[in-house]
Symmetry: C2
Subunit: 431 residues, 2 copies
C-alpha cells in the first residue's frame, strides 16, 4: 500500500520530487468567484454577507444578530464540558501561553557617543481576525494556537469567524475561544468572512491581520486581501517526516505516520531510516494497526497516494534528505536527537527523541502547531507572538550627530540625484 | 498649490480619506501578462529570460554570460568612485550593519522540572534574491538596506538582479553591491527576473525569498510567486508625515516635504501642525524654495495631487491623526519628541526632534529605509534581520513528561475525533 523507496535507486530523486509535488492554491475559477465575493462584500457589507452565508451555510439570517455569538455563550460552552475536558483545555492553554511569553519582543534603544539615539519600538497589532473552519475540521486546539499568541502579544480585539453549516456549532471550539480570550465571534465563513474582516462591514470590524486555516476559497481570499491586511500564511496539506534509527517500537512509528495521515487524504507521512529490517517491521505494523483505526479509509488513501518509507544509506543522508524536504513536522526518533540538531537546517517543528510524538506538540507541549508546509520552512516560521507585534524604527539624531551624518547623507543623496534629500540634511549641519 | 485642510471642517475626514486613498497593485491586464511571463520562464528557463530581456531592456544577449556581472566588476566599480563617495558608502554600510546586528535573534531553550525541553532554533535563510530597479530609480542606498540585513542574518547566497536598460549600469549600485557582500549579479529585471529567482533557471539559482522594490510588473510578480518563495512586501508610493509644533525653521519643514515628494509624482507629503501662522510660513517656504529644485516638476505634481498642510486643534489631535494614517515615515519636529513617543501606535520609522530629518535615516543613521507604506505600518515592520532568519520549534519531551502531557493530548485528540493522535500519545504513557 505505502510506497517504499531506496535512496540509491537511480530514479530516486525524480520519484521523491513527484511524491512531494503539491500545487499551491491557484485556480482561475476559484479566484474569479473569490474576487466577485470580495467586491460584493466591499459594496454591500452586512447585506451581502448575510446573503452569502444563507446560501452557502444553509442559514436563514435576516439580521447580523443571528450571525453573532455573544461572549456569555462562549463561557456557557466551556461550563458544559466535562471536568477532564475542562482541565485538558485549561492546562494546554496555560502551557501554550507560557511558551509564547518567551517569544515576546520588547522595545530596545541604544545611544551613541554624540547623543544620537537609535532603536526599535515594539507594539501589538490593534485588531486581529481569526478564521476557524466549521464542519468536520473544527479543531479547538487550532483556536488556542491562533488566539493565544495574539493575546500574549497584547492584541486588544480578537475577532473570530467560524461558519456553522446548517446552524451546527462546535462547543469545544466555543470553549477554546472562551479560554483564549477571543473578544467577538461571528458565525460566518468562506471568502465572504475573509472579505468582511479585511474591509469591515457595518457590523464586522475591519482587522489589521487575518490568521487561521481554511479551504481553497479561504486561502484564495487571504491571498487576495494580502496587503490590505496582513495574513499568516497560505497553508498546504499537513506533513510529517520521521527520521528513525530503527530502534523505536515500530508500532509507535506506524501510529505517528497515521496521526498525520488521518487529517485528510492529501496529508503526507514519510519515514527515513537506514535500517531495511525496521522499515519492513513498520510496514507490518501499518498493516496490523490500520484495520483498528476509525479513520482508516482517509489514512489508507493518504498513505497510498502521498506516503513513503524510504531506506537511506545512513543517518547523515537521512538528515540531508530532510533538509531537502524542509518538512512541517520533523520527528527525530533516535537515541541522541541533540547530536543531530546542528545538522537540521529547515523544519517547522522538530520533535526530539522517542517519547516526543507529534501529537504532544499538536495539543499541549507549548510550541505552536501552525507551521510552514510544503517546503516553506525554508523561509517561514511557526506562528508566534512576533506575528502579532510590529516594529517602528526609532531615530533621534543629536545636533552633533546631524553634523556628522549630514555629510554622508548629502554625499549619497547627491549620488542618487536627490537634491531635496541632500538639502534637507545640509540644513541640519553646522554652518 | 498644496492642499490646506483644517481638522475642524465638517468634511475633513472625507477629504483626508480621499487624499490617502491608494489602490494597491491590482490590474487584470498586468496580472495576465505577468502570469504568462512566469509560465514561460518556468517552462523555458534561460532561453525565455534572454528573450524577455532582449525585448524589454533593448539588449541583444545570446548567452546568459552576457547578462552576468562577475564579482571583480563590482570591486572595480567601487574602486573607481571618488574618495568622498567611497567613504560615505563605507560609513553608511558600517552604521547599517551595526544597527542591524542588534536585531539578530538567537536560538533559545528552557527545560521543565520533568526534563522536558522546549525552545526555538533560529537559522538564516540559505539564499535570497535582491531586486534592484534599473534606470532612473537606481538607488545604491537601497542595495545596502536590502543586502546588509541578509548578510547580518547569515544568508550565504545573495543573488542580485538589476535590469540595465540598453546596457546602462549604475556604478554606485554595483559599488554598493560590492560593499554589502552580494554574491552573484544578473542584469535582468521585471517579472521575468522575479520568476527566474522564484523557480530557478539553468543559470539563475532558485532562491528562498525575494526582497526589493520594483514597478507594477515586479510587484505583481512578487504577489504571484508568494508562497513558492517568501517576499518582503508589496510597497506603495513613499510617504512622509510631519508633526510640527510650529517652532522648527519652516524652510527645514518645506525641504523635508520636498524630500519625499521628489521621489515620484505619487509620493505623499503631509504636515500636521496646530499653528496656523506656521502653516502659512511653510507654504511661503514651499513657494520660495520650489523654483530652486532640480526635480521641481515632480515635487510640484506630488505636492499638488497628494500633499497637504493640515491645521489641527492641538498636538494630541495631530498624534491621533498620525495613528489613523499609520505613515511610512513620521517626523516629530518638536521640542520633546520622547514625551510624544508613547502615544505613537503605528509608523514605519519615527524621526525624533528637529535635527532628525528623514534623509539621515534614508541613508546612514542605521535603521532600514525599507518601510511599510499605505497604512500597512498597522501590521508590518521595517525590513530587518528577522526577515532573513527563520525559526524551528524545539520539543523534547522526557519519559515523565510524555506521561503527563500524553493524558492531555489524548483527551483533546479524542474531542477532535483524531484517534491516531490520541493513540500515538498513549503509546508513550506508562502502562
Amino acid at each position: 500500500m505505502i510506497t517504499k523507496l531506496v535512496s540509491t535507486q537511480v530514479d530516486f530523486q525524480k520519484k521523491l520530487s513527484s511524491l512531494l509535488a503539491w500545487d499551491s492554491v491557484s485556480n482561475k475559477q476559484v479566484a474569479q468567484t473569490v474576487d466577485d465575493i470580495i467586491t460584493k462584500i466591499r459594496n454591500n457589507g452586512d447585506s451581502a454577507l448575510m446573503d452569502y452565508t444563507n446560501t452557502f451555510d444553509g442559514t436563514s439570517a435576516t439580521s447580523m444578530e443571528a450571525l453573532t455569538i455573544k461572549l456569555p455563550a462562549l463561557k456557557q460552552a466551556f461550563d458544559t464540558l466535562n471536568e477532564k475536558q475542562k482541565s485538558a483545555l485549561t492546562i494546554a492553554a496555560d502551557r501554550v501561553r507560557l511558551y509564547h511569553e518567551k517569544q515576546k519582543q520588547r522595545t530596545w534603544t541604544y545611544t551613541e557617543d554624540d547623543g544620537t539615539m537609535l532603536g526599535q519600538k515594539i507594539t501589538p497589532l490593534d485588531r486581529v481576525g481569526l478564521y476557524v473552519p466549521g464542519g468536520k475540521a473544527a479543531y479547538p486546539s487550532s483556536v488556542l494556537m491562533n488566539a493565544i499568541p495574539a493575546k500574549v502579544a497584547g492584541v486588544q480585539d480578537l475577532i473570530m469567524v467560524v461558519p456553522t453549516p446548517n446552524g451546527t456549532s462546535n462547543s469545544l471550539v466555543l470553549a477554546a475561544a472562551y479560554i483564549s480570550g477571543v473578544t467577538q465571534v461571528f458565525t460566518v465563513g468562506g471568502a465572504q468572512a475573509i472579505a468582511a474582516l479585511a474591509y469591515g462591514t457595518e457590523t464586522i470590524p475591519k482587522v489589521d491581520k487575518i490568521v487561521g486555516p481554511g479551504n481553497i476559497y479561504v486561502a484564495t481570499a487571504k491571498r487576495a486581501v494580502f496587503g490590505q491586511v496582513g495574513i499568516d500564511m497560505i497553508a498546504g496539506p499537513s506533513e510529517i517526516l520521521i527520521i528513525c534509527d530503527g530502534k523505536t517500537n515500530p508500532d509507535w512509528i506506524a501510529m505517528d505516520l497515521f496521526s498525520q495521515a488521518e487529517h485528510d487524504e492529501d496529508a503526507q507521512s514519510i519515514l527515513l531510516c537506514p535500517d531495511a529490517d525496521f522499515i519492513n517491521q513498520v510496514e507490518k505494523s501499518i498493516a496490523k494497526l490500520l484495520p483498528t483505526m476509525d479513520r482508516k479509509s482517509i489514512i489508507e488513501t493518504a498513505l497510498t497516494n502521498r506516503g513513503a518509507l524510504i531506506l537511506t544509506k545512513d543517518m547523515d543522508e537521512a538528515i540531508a534528505l530532510s533538509n531537502q524536504i524542509a518538512p512541517e513536522h520533523l520527528e527525530l526518533s533516535v537515541e541522541n536527537p541533540q547530536e543531530m540538531l546542528d545538522g537540521i537546517q529547515h523544519a517547522g517543528a522538530i520533535f526530539m527523541g522517542r517519547y516526543t510524538c507529534e501529537s504532544l506538540g499538536d495539543y499541549c507541549a507549548g510550541p505552536n502547531h501552525v507551521l510552514p508546509t510544503s517546503g516553506t520552512a525554508r523561509f517561514s516560521s511557526p506562528l508566534g507572538v512576533y506575528d502579532f507585534q510590529k516594529k517602528s524604527s526609532l531615530i533621534m539624531v543629536s545636533d552633533q550627530g546631524a553634523n556628522t551624518l549630514g555629510k554622508i547623507a548629502a554625499t549619497l543623496a547627491d549620488g542618487e540625484g536627490l537634491q531635496a534629500h541632500a538639502e534637507s540634511a545640509k540644513y541640519r549641519m553646522k554652518k
